[in-house]
Point group: C2
Chain length 424, copies 2
């Protein structure tokens, strides 16, 4: 993985250097606000290996007896898993292997109705993921899924098919798991939801879906080696955080994360949560937007090219595509495409990316190019760790606590009042 | 359908009234820039009924002989169809009926490779949609799909399975269709891509997918009745356009379209193209962002609640859900949800929406509430027409030509140079 800042005007960056190194020090030495939630920094080399082996064992069991694992969670208990699963599954998923299906990530009655109907013909297990067990969306979904599993399999067999990822010691879901005898996994105390894909939160469902979690963890380890170095010149996470803050102070309000391989689109959704929840507070923060190209060149493209100049882009390039296809000569050439004959489609896609970067630079959109080797577990693990360090440094530079999310409570409070929840 | 502006501070709106009425007049009387592309205004009552009957006939044929219709197009030749198809298909699509699968909407080699592999086991037809026939993405995809259809079915039968939607008279695709004898449908001269779902561009694939296009057109007709009235008080499209411009001039740079029924998410993608391409020019324009709730309350929610105050929201509410599910009493109540027993999930979802609106108003995010009766062809047709009028009025108020997209050419020019296309 490497990152190229040559298409950003770096005049003035020097004055952000010390501030970014200070922020990095605050992060690594755990001396800033939110320092109770920095377990993710060393977790790649500090996993609970006993639990890790239980994850693999449970996954094998689920793969053997289930067509579908219903993964119940919202926010950080959903987006990391979805991001990696979607990227690794490819575009036209085959029916072999155990498929992840999500629930508890919204409140659509129609979705849940259709899900229960869909499950009638499937063998399934359930992984409910919630630290407290009382978050409304997953709690409701789990009520329905637990009931369905018990009706379909009987109460005893249902216990073999329900896996609970929750607080180590306390809470509604922990109590329920103890009472029913479900196998449990831990949502760590020292890692916030949006950083939790490296814990059982992400590792269990991903392992079930066939993701090589050893390699995924290796990617995080590689990231930790590269992005915990205390050096502005050698640690691109620090430099990137500095540049983002410089651009923000220079009037850029929107950061667009761009990909040219749409199976990365949920990586962008994960990234949106990571940056929006970490930085969007105290009336501040770059608004994170994702773009999936070339599709969106025919949608948001016009706005990025010619609209209000409050945008910069971070382009995610994949060096080596998983599969490719070669354009052939056509004797009639009525479509005029013969000039591309013999070219791989990935070559055309890359030129579209390069052309778009040139066009956007011309349109005064600062462009950062982030290249990953391939869409593999290792590359994605490293990428996620990189973004996590960036957001920690960047949030401290912005002057906010990057590890809380007080604004998420406000809608809940208002909702609970309207719903007549006891105590509200 | 109705729209509620009570949660926006309308102080100062009066000074936008005349300007919005002038812009509306320019639109309806076709006296402004881009007036050659206003065919969409009257098209709902002025369809080519001969072609409309051919659309239905071709759809029946495709439904009879094909599991899959590969719909090849990008931008306006993709997003309208995808938006309606995705909303009407529901969450867990059954295998009965002919399924739309998209191609030519990006340049991923892996996607096209996997699509061709997926089609091996399917009976399929192809609808290629491109005015010129030389737009790179769909042209490349069509080369592969044409070859595959001819290999699978033979050249003669392939002609019965390839349907071309293109310019009435000229262009590479028209020439190819004439030469090969494909049935053709028309991309109108007087309707731009992002307004073209009311033409064969959208109607043919949607009809194949089982959408009731009569009702969809009826929705557009209802929209035309309501939103072509020359009155600030009676025509909410004019008022909405005025309010958007007022908010923009008051420092709101981002409009967030919010839904609570995630099957509407491609309606938001269609809306993003409509607004970004129409308004994002000359260094101006509100940046359109979409949010699918309650999922994104645990992602962008923090930023919207507490981040930089440059945001306003338009919330899309569905009055009547298609399906619903009732929360039951649980004797243990360990999850504490019994206070919701007897409630439908749609009720909880609605309270989440109302609570979020209250929270965001408290957070100084102006909120507009747009309610549609249901997710039906008629309601969606009316909604699309409404947005089309809004963007026309709003773009003229902003002082841009809402009906061109000059910025989309820049990346193409740069890309063609890099690809060595003759003439570049």
């Amino acid at each position: 993985m490497n990152i190229d800042f040559t298409n950003v005007d770096l005049t003035g960056l020097d004055s952000y250097k010390d501030k970014s190194l200070d922020a990095f020090k605050t992060l690594i030495e755990k001396t800033g606000e939110g320092s109770d939630f920095l377990g993710w920094i060393d977790r790649p080399v500090d996993l609970d290996m006993q639990e890790y082996e239980r994850i693999k064992k449970a996954s094998k069991k689920i793969q053997t007896n289930s067509d579908v694992l219903v993964t119940i969670g919202i926010g950080g208990s959903y987006l990391g898993t979805k991001a990696i699963d979607y990227a690794m599954a490819g575009y036209f998923r085959r029916e072999n292997g155990t498929q992840l299906v999500y629930a508890g990530h919204q409140l659509s009655g129609e979705y849940l109705y259709d899900l229960l109907d869909f499950l009638k013909e499937k063998e399934f297990s359930v992984n409910v993921i919630s630290k407290s067990g009382t978050t409304t969306e997953p709690a409701i979904a789990f009520r329905f899924l637990k009931e369905m599993a018990e009706e379909k399999y009987g109460k005893e067999e249902a216990k073999n098919r329900i896996f609970v990822t929750t607080d180590r010691q306390k809470g509604a879901l922990k109590d329920l798991a103890t009472k029913e005898g479900y196998e449990t996994f831990v949502v760590p105390d020292d890692i916030g939801g949006r950083f939790s894909v490296i814990s059982a939160v992400g590792l269990l469902p991903l392992c079930v879906a066939g993701v090589d979690i050893d390699k995924f963890v290796d990617g995080f380890k590689n990231g930790r080696k590269k992005y915990t170095i205390n050096s502005f010149e050698e640690n691109d996470a620090i430099k990137y955080a500095a540049i983002r803050n410089m651009l923000y102070e220079n009037g850029k309000d929107i950061e667009v994360l761009v990909n040219y391989e749409p199976k990365l689109k949920y990586i962008s959704e994960w990234w949106k949560q990571l940056f929006a929840e970490s930085e969007g507070k105290d009336g501040k923060g770059l608004f994170p937007v994702s773009v999936n190209n070339t599709t969106d060149l025919h949608s948001l493209g016009q706005m990025i090219q010619d609209g209000k100049r409050n945008i910069f882009e971070t382009v995610l390039k994949v060096q080596k595509p998983d599969k490719d296809i070669t354009i052939k000569e056509d004797s009639d050439n009525l479509d005029g495409l013969n000039y591309l004959a013999g070219r791989d489609l990935s070559y055309v896609n890359e030129k579209a990316m390069e052309g778009t970067i040139l066009a956007h630079i011309k349109g005064n959109v600062p462009n950062i190019l982030l290249t990953i080797d391939d869409v593999s577990e290792e590359s994605l693990g490293e990428l996620l760790y990189f973004f996590e360090v960036v957001v920690g440094v960047s949030g401290y530079m912005l002057g906010v606590n990057p590890f809380n999310q007080p604004g998420v409570e406000e809608y809940k409070t208002q909702m609970f009042k309207l719903l007549g929840k006891p105590g509200y």
